[in-house]
């Protein structure tokens, strides 16, 4: 129950459908005494994680997200954010076995679907007992926590002003001092939407299978790209209006009867019904259209949920938004336009926030400690 007793290393693992997000707390206030006692394997883990920015061929540390000089459960240190594809989980578990993690008697806090899916593998292969945490709990607590600690002195939460105008568009900090009620849209491979009324009172409103996985999956099929970054890069150079059928393509302008602007997409991929137009589009155009389609749809569902739940601030998080300014600006614009300014789209610097809560929040540390019998 004494959180200070918790044994290093402090890890949090969020095993999603596509990506595994790992947070690692690197204590910077280690006393000489502690250093003395620190076992070799623990030392090597710390060295390995903090001195590299890439692990194997697919693991990446997002250095820009690192939270420095954080006080967590009475310890000072840095928080590192590492990600790798879920399909490399077996290799990760194998590494845990090779590095003899089990001898550290640490608690492996894990959330996300993979916490269930890989639990048995952790146990049988790595001799590691996972402490499974509810992902929605983690998500909510994570976002609140991360907002409370800020982002290395800056605000964690932000919004876009003039999102449709690339000249005037500005990313501005948002003070989430009145967080509730809040609609939380977590865009991973799929999308989960939560209505949050307080720290402990929330519900999952709905979800959609049209998420980041759909964008990336379709891009792979349509363009032959192999990474999310590549897909986004192509999208940034494409023109979706060649692929989509717009209101003006049908009505020659705005459809006034229904107050629809001519620029609105009437049919995503609608132009692709025609052979000539299929032959005239580039891979970049297709990637862009895929991105716009998925993003607009998420915006639309989120807006309807916000209306149904009577909530007007919507926070979008999740790995789909990582380095994805196009999507964030589109969400910001679509939400503002279709709600006539009633709804505000908010974003967080740490899209991966849910993992943090998992082992860093005192309450959950306690929970993990109990579990581990400390």
């Amino acid at each position: 129950t004494n959180v200070e007793d918790a044994v290093f290393p402090w890890f949090g693992l969020d095993i999603g459908g596509t990506l595994v997000k790992l947070v690692y707390f690197e204590p910077k206030d280690i006393t000489a005494e502690e250093e003395e006692e620190e076992v070799e394997s623990l030392k090597s883990i710390r060295k390995y994680l903090t001195s590299n920015v890439a692990y194997g061929s697919t693991g990446i540390r997002d250095v820009h997200l690192e939270l420095k000089d954080l006080t967590l459960c009475g310890r000072k240190g840095n928080l590192h954010f590492i990600r790798f594809p879920t399909h490399d989980m077996p290799a990760f578990i194998q590494m845990g076995r090779d590095k003899n993690f089990s001898s550290l008697h640490t608690v492996f806090c894990a959330t996300g679907g993979g916490a269930y899916k890989f639990e048995q593998d952790f146990l049988t292969i790595g001799d590691l007992q996972l402490c499974k945490l509810d992902e929605l709990d983690c998500l909510i607590k994570g976002i609140l926590y991360i907002d409370s600690v800020g982002f290395n002195g800056r605000s964690q939460c932000y919004y876009f002003e003039n999102p449709a105008d690339s000249e005037k568009c500005q990313k501005l900090p948002f003070d989430l001092k009145n967080p509730y009620p809040l609609l939380l849209v977590n865009i991973g491979s799929g999308v989960s939407i939560l209505a949050v009324y307080s720290k402990d009172n929330y519900k999952r409103v709905t979800g959609t299978s049209l998420g980041g996985g759909t964008f990336f999956g379709l891009c792979c099929l349509l363009t032959g790209c192999t990474t999310f970054e590549e897909a986004l890069e192509m999208a940034s150079r494409g023109d979706s209006t060649k692929v989509d059928k717009l209101v003006r393509d049908i009505y020659g302008g705005d459809y006034e009867r229904f107050g629809l602007p001519g620029w609105a997409v009437a049919s995503s991929f609608g132009n692709m019904m025609s052979k000539e137009k299929r032959e005239a589009v580039s891979k970049e155009d297709l990637a862009r259209a895929t991105l716009i389609t998925i993003t607009n749809n998420i915006g639309s569902i989120a807006r309807m949920c916000a209306l149904n739940e009577n909530i007007n601030q919507v926070v979008f998080v999740g790995n789909f938004l990582r380095i994805n300014t196009i999507a964030m600006r589109l969400l910001a614009y679509a939400l503002d336009y279709w709600s006539k300014g009633q709804l505000k789209a908010l974003f967080s610097e740490h899209e991966v926030s849910r993992v943090i809560s998992c082992d860093m929040l005192p309450s959950q540390r306690a929970c993990c400690s109990c579990y581990a019998g400390i």
Binding site: G213, L260, V265
Partner: protein, 816 residues
């Protein structure tokens, strides 16, 4: 973010086909006097609407002049039924592929003889494209109408006028379509039109609707993205691919992420967590089928989810789906229904429409016809002139499609009088007229279809005999046979073709087919020996039984079927019956009160036996009417009857009189004259007013309103009770608005409904198999009701747990 009726333009073939595979005069019917054209041109299909007047024969009743002295010349019928020409209004809707548009326009131009029409209302995405062609070919000015306005007008119109228009899709049931009874109040509802994009419209009244949202992920996305992914160009082919695919190879499921279900959230392992989530890899090939299936799920789920969110926000639970994505495709109906059920947890119902493809054309037509005020009338689907649901769906009926070409028809007749609910229905929204759903009940369906098939010969003969003076009667009767036979065959394979299949709809379809070939009243006249084939003693009975059922719902055993020579004309039957009315009445008057009540009920029932073997009974009647009538009573089952609440009824009669009784009469002749009228007379004597409702038009040997007027007049001449009741308007004769041997209490003449309200009717008497057993057996009314019938069909009797001539006497009092 939406697009309306215009089903995606683009890759459907644009080359025009000048040849039409079917004779166009069977498609564009009654063009000679057509007017008010409207056209809806979608991405691949054109829907043409026009209004025509149909001249057809109707049976008219004319009373002979009885100056009082020749009533004893009793071989003459009391009145004459003559066939006259009458003009009625009809709406025609024809759907064909865009490739035929030029050929069709040419045909119309050539046959449009006599029209004052100057403009054609046009809607749909293709209206622009073909504007010049239409103006040039038809010499009509094209008037563009708003797509969504037309769609909604059309939707309101079919929901109001076509019974069983809407249906739900039920997976794993056979057939998969479940039709809905028309809700008395169709508003408000949500219309989700899935064209290239999706439009979501909230419809609040006839004229008020609002676009509340939409989505760009629609049919165009399925088609466009599908074409890119699978290199398959046609929408139909994409759906075919999808129906063969396995989406789990492409989609990331909950179990792929969790290893199983997500129990705390209650998400099953089979749910799709991320559409196309598994395709995010470079080193795997995916089959076209699997990708198409995954795409179909993705789009259907997304639309269903949005529809539910909008329905919830606007507190609506009825959502109709239309647009080319849905049209005639069980696959998409299935996925959309699944999605709606999933996201709404059963609170929202996904509804589809039989005539969804015609909504735009109907709406455009109505816009153009506003000065004729078509909405003030009631309209009825003409089963003879309409193609059934899925008649051209390649998925469902590849052979059917080949047979009927690519043309699909809908015809609607303007009904003479507006139809409304009987105000006495307990719950109009849950009222279902029909007792047995033959769509559902495969055994019953088989039985009845066979019956109607076997009866066809007899009906054809009777039709010919009803028009002895006509030179082409035989030829027309033969066409009738062919048409009705084909309908029956269609219904064998697609029992859902015209909504819920029932005995009533089979009968109505036959009436429509008869009318189509100008046989308005085959029972009005027929010469002995011609109407039905003489039967040799050893002939199998069953076919004859069936024959008479479908003819007059009679039945079995060689002895009885001997009597089923239905050669008696209604006029003559009525004449014979009238002669013994007085004797029957005096015999009744001689009885003490309690005996008389039973005798009256038995009389009603015995009268009801008389559509069976009218000849046999009337022979007896002529020599000794009372004896004959008693003979008929003897045929009846002894009490206790199969359903017997007579004691309760008798008890009720000992109490205060009813204020007003509404009686639905059945057969002409003995039934109405010796059964119904004495019963009416007793009610009148008790101080109960009586509204006697008879069919507006002829059906089988049912008494029609105009016949009832004459019969009443004749009876009044001999009976002071009836006489004064008629004069003082305590006995009122009204028409039902129907020409069916069955009874739909949700579609009754408005005048009847008004009268029922005015007079405060508190008793409803429904008589006969067609009205009280095939229909309304389970009908719940908010006043006392009496349902009586003699089961004259052994199959049905057996089903009900009784025998031939079992008696149904169902007296019901609504719960307090």
């Amino acid at each position: 973010m939406a697009e309306c009726g215009a089903s995606g333009s683009g890759s459907s073939g644009d080359s025009l086909d000048k040849s039409i595979t079917l004779p166009p005069d069977e498609i564009f019917r009654n063009l000679e006097n057509a007017k008010r054209f409207a056209i809806d041109i979608g991405g691949s299909l054109t829907k043409l609407a026009y209004y025509s007047t149909v001249q057809h024969k109707v049976a008219k009743v004319r009373s002979f002049d009885y100056s009082g002295k020749d009533t004893e010349q009793d071989h003459e019928p009391p009145y004459e039924i003559s066939v006259q020409e009458e003009v009625t209004a009809r709406l025609h809707f024809v759907k064909f592929e865009n490739t035929y548009i030029e050929a069709c326009l040419d045909f119309i131009k050539d046959h449009l003889v006599n029209t004052e029409t100057k403009v054609i209302q046009a809607t749909g995405g293709g209206a622009y494209k073909f504007k010049d062609l239409i103006e040039e070919k038809l010499q009509l000015k094209v008037d563009k109408e708003d797509v969504m306005t037309c769609l909604i007008k059309g939707c309101n119109f079919v929901l109001k006028n076509i019974p069983h228009e809407a249906f739900v899709y039920q997976k794993d049931s056979d057939p998969e379509f479940r039709f809905q009874t028309n809700h008395p109040n169709i508003f408000p509802y949500l219309l989700v039109n899935i064209g290239s994009g999706v439009s979501i419209v909230k419809v609040e009244t006839e004229d008020r609707f609002e676009w509340i949202g939409g989505s760009s992920i629609g049919g165009g996305t399925f088609w466009g993205l599908g074409a890119l992914l699978t290199k398959t160009k046609k929408f139909d082919e994409l759906l075919q691919l999808a129906s063969r695919g396995q989406h789990t190879n492409v989609d990331m499921l909950v179990q792929d992420i969790y290893g199983g279900a997500h129990e705390t959230l209650g998400l099953s392992g089979n749910l799709i967590a991320s559409s196309f989530g598994k395709s995010a890899t470079a080193d795997q090939e995916f089959s076209k089928e699997d990708m198409a299936k995954s795409l179909l799920h993705m789009i259907s789920n997304d639309i269903g989810q949005l529809a539910c969110l909008y329905a919830r926000l606007h507190c609506l639970d009825r959502v109709y789906f239309g647009g080319f994505f849905i049209r005639g495709h069980p696959v998409t109906m299935r996925t959309i229904t699944y999605s709606i059920n999933f996201f709404s947890k059963g609170e929202v119902q996904a509804l589809f429409l039989r005539h969804e493809g015609y909504l735009g054309a109907i709406g455009a037509f109505l816009k153009g016809a506003e000065q004729d005020n078509p909405n003030q009338y009631s309209w009825g689907e003409n089963y003879a002139g309409s193609s059934g649901l899925m008649s051209s769906s390649p998925e469902l009926c590849p052979t059917q499609r080949a047979r009927s070409g690519t043309f699909d028809l809908l015809e609607m007749d303007r009904l003479e009088r507006p139809l409304v609910n009987l105000p006495l229905l307990l719950d109009p929204s849950s009222y279902v007229p029909d007792t047995v759903d033959l769509t559902d009940d495969a055994l019953a369906r088989k039985y009845w279809l066979t019956c109607f098939e076997e009866a066809l010969d007899g009906v054809v003969k009777r039709a010919v005999a009803s028009q002895p003076g006509s030179v082409d009667a035989a030829e027309r009767a033969e066409k009738f046979r062919q048409k009705y036979w084909n309908k029956l065959q269609t219904l064998r394979h697609q029992p859902f073709a015209y909504g819920t299949l029932t005995v009533r709809s089979l009968l109505d379809t036959r009436e429509h087919c008869l009318n189509e070939f100008n046989f308005p009243d085959p029972y009005s006249k027929s010469r002995p020996g011609e109407a039905s084939s003489p039967r040799s003693p050893g002939q199998p009975v069953s076919s004859i039984n069936c024959g008479s059922i479908a003819g007059s719902m009679v039945t079995t055993s060689a002895e009885q079927s001997r009597g089923s020579d239905e050669q008696l004309v209604k006029q003559k039957d009525n004449g014979v019956a009238l002669k013994c009315f007085q004797r029957v009445v005096s015999a009744l008057d001689a009885l003490d009160w309690e005996e008389r009540q039973l005798a009256l009920v038995k009389g009603l029932l015995a009268g009801n036996v008389f559509d069976w073997g009218a000849k046999a009974v009337s022979d007896v009647l002529e020599s000794d009417p009372q004896f004959g009538f008693e003979e008929a009573k003897k045929k009846l089952q002894e009490r206790p009857w199969l359903v017997d609440s007579y004691s309760k009824w008798l008890q009720r009669l000992k109490g205060p009189p009813h204020k007003c009784a509404l009686i639905f009469a059945d057969n002409s002749g003995v039934d109405v004259i010796l059964g119904v009228f004495p019963f009416v007379r007793e009610l009148l004597s008790r101080g109960t007013e009586v509204i006697l409702a008879c069919n507006s038009g002829p059906a089988l040997n049912d008494v029609t309103y105009s016949e009832s007027l004459i019969v009443a007049e004749r009876i009044a001449a001999m009976d002071p009770v009836i006489h004064s009741a008629l004069r003082e308007e305590r006995l009122l004769l009204v028409q039902t608005g129907s020409s069916s041997p069955c009874l739909d209490l949700s579609r009754l003449d408005k005048g009847l409904a008004v009268l029922v309200r005015e007079r405060g009717a508190d008793l409803v008497v429904i008589e006969g198999m067609g009205r009280a057993v095939h229909t309304n057996y389970h009908a719940a009314l908010c006043c006392e009701s009496l349902k009586l019938a003699v089961i004259k069909n052994s199959w049905l009797a057996e089903r009900l747990g009784g025998q031939l001539f079992s008696v149904i006497f169902k007296y019901e009092v609504p719960a307090e």
